[in-house]
Point group: C4
Chain length 386, copies 4
């Protein structure tokens, strides 16, 4: 297993979404009759899609709408929502800034300290709408923010950093004891990100309710360019799904994995599930909703990093309502709308009645996109019915 890339040096070939496709089944199912339920801890969601903890995507209003539609939105406890009492004004400054100013303005905005009382306030605003409140922080602040969030009534707590491991070494600062934290918290804890079988097994042994998969997903990812680091999502998801299944076999506990990042289209989401995901986490597609606080702009939480920024503010535009992005009708044909329609149609076509069945559907390695074929192939769809 692996190719020789040099004398005494082997490397595995890893795959991303663009390299694979799914195969129609011998049995097909009416898409209206498939089951897409996702369960984390005791909470069940009919939409197995999470909105990323990014400031251009999730604020209180977005989280409420997402909850009402059956999905999950993660509010970042270290973004503008907890740094500013009135984040709308700050978000306006970001969306109104020129391309040239953007990074500098972002860097300055994020130097404002986090106000801990705002953490509880945001959670209570979400809970007031009777939808689940899901919030996130980096490991260094998990102990402190986790306690506040739990007391404020949060339903799920997410610990997220570029790479999370059980064994983080530092003499400079005290590192988070993940196992201890998970057992101490009374609400489900989701942790990430990770991409390997072994690291996922170690994380799962700490007792989280879910694990986020994805480091430098997709080949154009900034993390991969800046640090050389990253595993494409097809391989990362399949490897971590194997760890989940192994953990399940050993302990009887099924800890779902959530593929995070690198999915651009409905088809990519379908593929993530086929690779073994229990749910997916998405940013950009939601940044394009009318409900998104970024007003058509999007930026990662590493963008305002003071010393080694990765990513930049990007104009994604506003293309429809959150409901439309999730359930259609699509007025774009590029796969960026009606994500749930795409998922159920795909499940019907491969004959998967549940996500668990979709996780075992046949995958092929198929040639990547050639521009010359675009014109002709775009119109080849036949069959107005399903």
């Amino acid at each position: 297993m692996g190719m020789w890339i040099g004398r005494n040096r082997k490397a595995r070939i890893c795959y991303g979404f663009d390299e694979i496709a799914l195969v129609p089944g011998d049995v097909t199912i009416n898409p209206n009759e498939v089951d897409t339920t996702f369960q984390i801890g005791d909470l069940k969601f009919k939409v197995p899609i999470l909105a990323s903890a990014m400031d251009g995507v999730v604020d209180v209003a977005f989280a409420i709408e997402m909850g009402k539609l059956g999905g999950i939105a993660v509010l970042n406890l270290e973004g503008v929502q907890t740094r500013y009492k009135n984040p709308a004004e700050v978000l306006d400054r970001i969306s109104n800034s020129s391309k040239e100013e953007a990074t500098q303005i972002l860097q300055s905005i994020y130097t404002e300290p986090i106000q801990e009382d705002l953490i509880a306030a945001r959670i209570r605003e979400i809970k007031a709408a009777k939808v689940p409140a899901v919030v996130s922080s980096i490991p260094q602040r998990a102990e402190r923010f986790g306690k506040i969030a739990q007391e404020a009534g949060a339903d799920i707590f997410v610990i997220q950093s570029t790479v999370s491991t059980v064994r983080h070494l530092s003499k400079e600062y005290k590192t988070l004891d993940i196992g201890n934290f998970c057992s101490k918290m009374k609400i489900p804890v989701v942790i990430g990100n990770t991409v390997t079988y072994s690291a996922t097994l170690e994380l799962m042994a700490c007792g989280p309710a879910g694990v986020l998969i994805g480091v430098g997903p997709g080949a154009a990812c900034t993390t991969r360019g800046v640090l050389g680091l990253g595993v494409p999502q097809v391989t990362a998801t399949a490897d971590c799904a194997a760890a989940r299944d192994e953990h399940h076999k050993r302990t009887g506990k099924y800890i779902p994995i959530i593929t995070d990042g690198g999915m651009n289209k409905g088809g990519d989401i379908c593929k993530a599930f086929a690779c073994g995901a229990d749910a997916v986490m998405i940013g950009s597609a939601f940044a394009r909703t009318q409900e998104a606080p970024g007003k058509g702009f999007h930026w990662g939480m590493a963008t305002p990093h003071s010393n080694l920024p990765r990513g930049t503010r990007i104009k994604v535009g506003v293309t429809g309502s959150l409901k439309q992005i999730l359930f259609g009708p699509a007025n774009l044909d590029d796969g960026s709308q009606n994500l749930m329609g795409a998922l159920t149609t795909c499940m019907g076509s491969v004959g998967a009645s549940t996500i668990r069945e979709l996780q075992r559907t046949e995958i092929i390695i198929a040639p990547s996109i050639k521009s010359e074929g675009k014109l002709f192939q775009t119109v080849q769809g036949v069959g107005m019915g399903k």
Copy 2:
């Protein structure tokens, strides 16, 4: 067989037309002396090419001209031809609409109900010209439309949906019993689309006269982007050809397969036959004929889908007469004209005197197109004779 794409997860590598090429033979044949006959049921055609059941491609006049030239045009029974007494007016609206309006106008035009009396009328108009009438519907309407078409004198009935399987599950609606339908019909039934060995075997056991091959062919296909679904045509055709040969071995019945979609140039058609096709079905190349009702525009039947549209209206332009596209002379050098000339020249060059021999010619995997090489290589053709 297959590559590891992740732990416990293997995937086959599949191929599209751009990845392969054909190899000249040790024997060559005068192109004028090769035999391209295609037989379906008892009908024989000297042009083994079908025009797709798309509204921008086939209307009554086109079907008549195609029949006279020795090929087959499939009239879609669910398009504008059966929804409107005077489809020309509707087609004008489509071709005159702006790029922005097109999808919306298409969506609105296709909400008009199908008038069943027009089904018979269209078929009789085609038959009046003494050429075969070939028509299509989706599985849900096959029972009803098949009966009408047969009574009106249709020669072949085509059942077509994105993915057709013998076992389609639904509690919501009654599914088509394909075997029962095929045995009940007195005219040949062609069914599709499918892409796998096993599904083709199951479909062939139902007794159709032909099977259409192609789901999400080509890498840029909308179905693949939106649903993640699709098998490139080289592999799909070879797999289904193997099913045809296996079915033939088991039952003595040779059921031809028709590769549908993903062919842009004469060379792609040649490759489809080399992969095992008995005939090919083509849309875009014919949408560019003077005879095509789309007047230089082209759209798939999934484009006006109300909830999850795939594909869009595309301007392909008008480049020549149907006769010219099929038999030349070509005034374009891109392989989009004189498709039969390309096919016979290719057969001559590889030394195949029949389509059956072409199906066994040597295929190579060859590097895909590099732009840098274009300038120099375009002019490298030598030898004015063949």
Copy 3:
């Protein structure tokens, strides 16, 4: 050997110049001290490069200059040089025509019949300059033109068509008996094109003095697009070189192979030799010389084909004198000038003192060009000396 591209269907992977690179040797040689001699029949040439039999490349004056510089130019006996007493006027019309008119004008110009007395005249004009005269025709006219050419004093006769085989089948016309022709001719006969081991062995058994290698070389080749036909030049050259070596082993006769087409840069020429070529044939690079009759335009002999044209008139521009293209100094850094300087420097770097040694140098498969890397890598050259 070969990959499964579908059930019961295997295909070899073939390679083009863009996919490979050469490896520096453990020994290096002063480039001024390597030997590049190419021998065909009893004729020796210090420049192992032939100019293609194309009307935009070779006329009498070009052939004379090429001969003086030590190389070989092939004059096409079926182009404007033998159709028109004063071809300059006709060539002017081609170079002065607009892009839109070009194909039509070419088609009309090539309907003028060939004047046999011009064949002898052109050959005598070349011979008058005391350089070798090398001319070509298609197989159908070889018997007649070969005799005329030989009598007029031609030194080498080239028979060239897209695909040449010993066994060409036709009831319509009489086919050329290649073996008989070669033994009848008193001057060396070069024949092509071919790309396979077996066809090359059959051709060599007919007794030619050389064989041309290349059908649809390069991925963007028109023949490949229009007919689906073609083998990339790395594999074609290596396979036919193996046939040459086998023929040599069996008969003691060494029949050189000439790789024809698909070489854009000095590097591609070096690679062709490394794959086993004894010489290379090039069109476009020479079409850009001040001496070329095309005046910066270039077209293949299949371009004016009346029914199935392949290729088009292309503007390549004029970038330098023939001497400069062959020996430098290069004023462009893209590898299109000083081809012999590139060849000798490459031979020095891999430690090959002769073409025969270069044919055995190490080849690697190396990733194709990525645009992102261009900026930085273009400037990385270090070392002003050798």
Copy 4:
């Protein structure tokens, strides 16, 4: 090992930086606590990065600043610094020339003879700032310049040509005896470039203090286009690292290798170390510093080559100070700034506490960049902390 590229012809697959990625570790480390020390001879450097011996990158002032920051800058003894007493005026002419004039002006500037007294002068200017002086020449001038440099107080002498081998054959001129030169010199000698296991072993046997790795690195490299020559850096570095380890095992002497060229981003540098490099040599990234003498322009030492130029003058722009490029803060997010921050963050993420550990981290082969994925993936970075 190797693929068949033709009959009787095999080739290894080689890899470049774009084809690979690094995998996060099961253990992670605080980036501030990793050790990046590079040792050559008895000299230790905390920045394992060398600035290339290019005239647009290194002059005396740059070398001094680089030395103060802990790295190494190589001054080319055959560039404008030793040809002109006042190189600033000449450099101005280069940066002020138009794109069209540039190559010609460069060619004319480099015809000025080298003034040997300037060699000693430049070295003394650098030494006056109490930082190491590192200088380079081609093999033909090494004997003469090496002696002058050593006497003037240089700390390291670099011999560099496109391809350096122990066995260079020439009757025309006397070749350098590398082993004799290394033993005669009292300061460490670095030699390059090379890319193969066997050539590296031979060079190391001559007793150099370091070896430069890289011939035609990257696919777009001019050397590869012009000469067909080159090995991608991943494979070249891994192969030569294996030679270093073998030499170490045999002799007990650890001779570091320096990967030179083809690194565009922080990520590429990280990957070079992961492939086995002890240090890296970089040009373009430093050409963009405020301190670089090229004032935003960059050219290779082969650019002004009179007969076979490779590369051209390129505008790279000025994006920050040398300190910023090396240590941040980055105001660009493309990986071209804060190279040391990228390196230490990568080491932390893979759990490597030293360069030697980084050399053994897991590498994967990952799909190359797809443009479609760029928009969405650029913003996917999550986690403001490390």
